[in-house]
């Protein structure tokens, strides 16, 4: 049962949080980048979710649970993040809100999601090529 309840419950909390906080609206994200009509909603939401996540983790696991996963910062990571950010800044949508947007059944929601899936497949194929073959 918990194999369904935990991921479904998480999805409802994550999605419900995004919807309630108006983060599932592209205009909210675009407002973050708009110097003429700046909207700090995303920053307030982000800071709140970070505080809650860290607070619950420490409450459950104890104060020593704060670990810092290692891993090198490489060009692939930065290039990928840069490309993702460009798409995010153009449309105001990232993967979570893109999934939530499917509920609208609006043509442009479906288009964004379909193109995102295509991009993911292309990205996954590129990731499977050994690094030295890509030069």
């Amino acid at each position: 049962m918990s194999r369904v309840a935990i991921p479904l419950g998480s999805g409802l909390l994550l999605g419900g949080g995004l919807v309630l906080g108006r983060l599932a609206r592209a205009t909210t994200i675009l407002g973050l980048f708009d110097l003429d009509a700046f909207d700090p909603t995303m920053l307030v939401f982000w800071a709140t979710s970070l505080v809650v996540l860290v607070g619950i983790r420490r409450g459950v696991r104890g104060p020593s649970s704060s670990c810092s996963p290692r891993g090198r910062v490489d060009r692939r990571l930065l290039a990928g993040a840069a490309i993702f950010g460009a798409g995010w800044g153009i449309a105001g949508l990232c993967p979570g809100p893109a999934v939530i947007g499917l509920a609208t059944l609006a043509p442009r929601s479906l288009l964004f999601f379909a193109m995102m899936a295509v991009g993911m497949e292309l990205g996954a194929r590129r990731s499977r090529v050994p690094a030295r073959e890509t030069g």
């Binding site: 919807v19 995010w88 509920a103």
Partner: protein, 142 residues
């Protein structure tokens, strides 16, 4: 944003943080939407059901939100469809190359103080800003 609509933003952030904590502590999974969507797109991981349940929860939350307020979820983006298509492609490709998005790197990774996530987050915030300004410039010029 004014004081009157600060409460739903704080409430939303609390729900989101709780959802990420539930998935991490209850199922040892990272609440990273790009990885979750990519995992159901990829045939080798498509049968791992937990991702489908997270996505079902997201869509269900969207449907519930829409039943209360038609403007709670935007029908995609205010941008014209060619830009929406290009942006979708960039978001999908970039999140696979960079292995994460706003949720996985921005919230979960940053909450651990992971150097990779901090670097990725600073990068996508910067390019998001510049991409927005570029689109705005295009609108002004046209």
């Amino acid at each position: 944003m004014s004081i009157s609509n600060l409460a739903p933003v704080l409430g939303g952030g609390i729900l989101f943080g709780a959802g990420a904590a539930l998935l991490e502590l209850g199922a040892s999974r990272v609440a990273g939407f790009s990885g979750i969507v990519a995992g159901v797109v990829d045939p080798s991981t498509r049968r791992e059901h937990w991702r489908w349940w997270v996505l079902a929860g997201l869509v269900l939350a969207g449907g519930i939100g829409l039943s209360f307020d038609a403007a709670a979820v935007s029908a995609a983006s205010p941008r014209a469809w060619p830009l929406v298509a290009i942006a979708g492609l960039l978001v999908g490709f970039g999140t696979r190359i960079g292995r994460g998005c706003t949720s996985g790197h921005g919230v979960c990774g940053v909450s651990h103080g992971a150097p990779r996530s901090l670097a990725a987050t600073a990068t996508f915030m910067a390019t998001g800003f510049f991409a927005f300004q570029l689109v705005r410039l295009g609108e002004v010029l046209s």
